[in-house]
Symmetry: C2
Subunit: 223 residues, 2 copies
């Protein structure tokens, strides 16, 4: 993973060694590491170099150093890059996850949407309807619309999930639409309008079902 074009500086090597020993469980979660001077002597590097290695791991969120107290372990491993997971996954799997999130979010939105939320949703729907021939524009406005529904659900975790997934699907959608444009734009827009109405009516189950149906169709088209 690290570019082999330039060899690791000592500090980076020291950071690797440290991370390996942390992963091996040499120091438990929250416990203190030996002092900088001790560690530097152990690895045979200067104290400044050791400090830079510690800083690097602190940047990754593995270590935390407190003046006067010491350096402590705050995580046993580096949080796996979320993008990497999505890159590895198939488009179908990603959309299935999107179905899970958006259907639930639609139901919650039906229950929790404020008048302001509803206004934002309707505005986004109108923007979607402009029928611009540009594929990029179409996908963007569609995404924006779906996001307003997520916002209306008032759940930060779901929003964050949505934002993680969208970029992964974005490319697949534009490619598909370029190859096979929407045959019936009015019909597509009507499906979205139905969802908005269900949310306006505070009909949770209908909202979930409409959202699910729409995304399932998308999944069929993309996989």
């Amino acid at each position: 993973m690290p570019p082999l074009v330039h060899r690791h500086p000592l500090a980076a090597q020291a950071a690797e060694v440290l991370l390996t020993r942390i992963r091996a469980g040499e120091w438990a979660l929250g416990h203190k590491l030996p002092g900088e001077t001790t560690l530097a002597a152990q690895l045979g590097v200067g104290r400044s170099t050791m400090r830079e290695a510690i800083r690097e791991l602190a940047g990754k969120g593995v270590l935390d150093s407190r003046q006067g107290a010491g350096v402590f372990v705050t995580a046993l491993d580096v949080a796996e890059d979320w993008d990497a997971v999505l890159r590895r996954a198939t488009v179908g799997a990603v959309i299935e996850a999107r179905i899970a999130i958006e259907a639930e979010a639609a139901a919650l939105a039906a229950l929790r949407r404020t008048p302001t939320d509803l206004r934002a949703i309707r505005r986004a729907l109108a923007a979607r309807a402009l029928g611009d021939p540009d594929v990029e524009f179409l996908v963007d406005t569609d995404t924006a619309f779906h996001r307003t529904v997520l916002v209306a659900a008032h759940n930060d975790v779901l929003i964050e999930l949505f934002d993680s997934f969208v970029p992964r699907v974005h490319r697949a959608m534009t490619d598909m639409l370029r190859a096979r444009p929407i045959t019936a734009p009015e019909e597509d827009q009507a499906a979205h309008l139905a969802l908005v109405d269900a949310i306006a009516d505070k009909d949770a189950s209908a909202s979930a079902e409409l959202s699910r149906a729409h995304l399932t169709a998308l999944k069929e088209a993309l996989s």
Copy 2:
């Protein structure tokens, strides 16, 4: 968001300033920053302090320094740490996301489960039923059971999401169970058995509904 208990060292402050300026677009993606001596003078800190700030951002993947060439911008923003999002979120919001994921996964599991999956699920259910008084054990076996359902759904993204969420809920669950133990263990076990039967019968909607009901009850209990 960083613990306010201990004030930022100079190096951390310098890193923040640098990150802000990068986000503001002062240096484009892949462009070179001024030398460390220049930057140090600009911010009024020593070189080693500046170096530590750069190392910290390098750990986050924002900067990359090459000896002899300079320091370069490798990312305009830090991919937000998932754990950070979950830590900030309420337990209720996390469980709502879990409902979305597990209900959908239960439905998919009902459609896709292989005989091997079903065996694993039943085995996990049996382990759960041992009725050990230890709360920690109870939560762990319950989590393991739910995970077998996720595995049966055969969707890597959903599994990954589940694994991200569980640690956040784990603590809340153990705390709650210690304060208010399950009154009717048989009933709880029966609810899980019903889910397994629905998956065995390939009844997707019933599986989703049972999973949703179980987690909704959990949400009520925890929030």
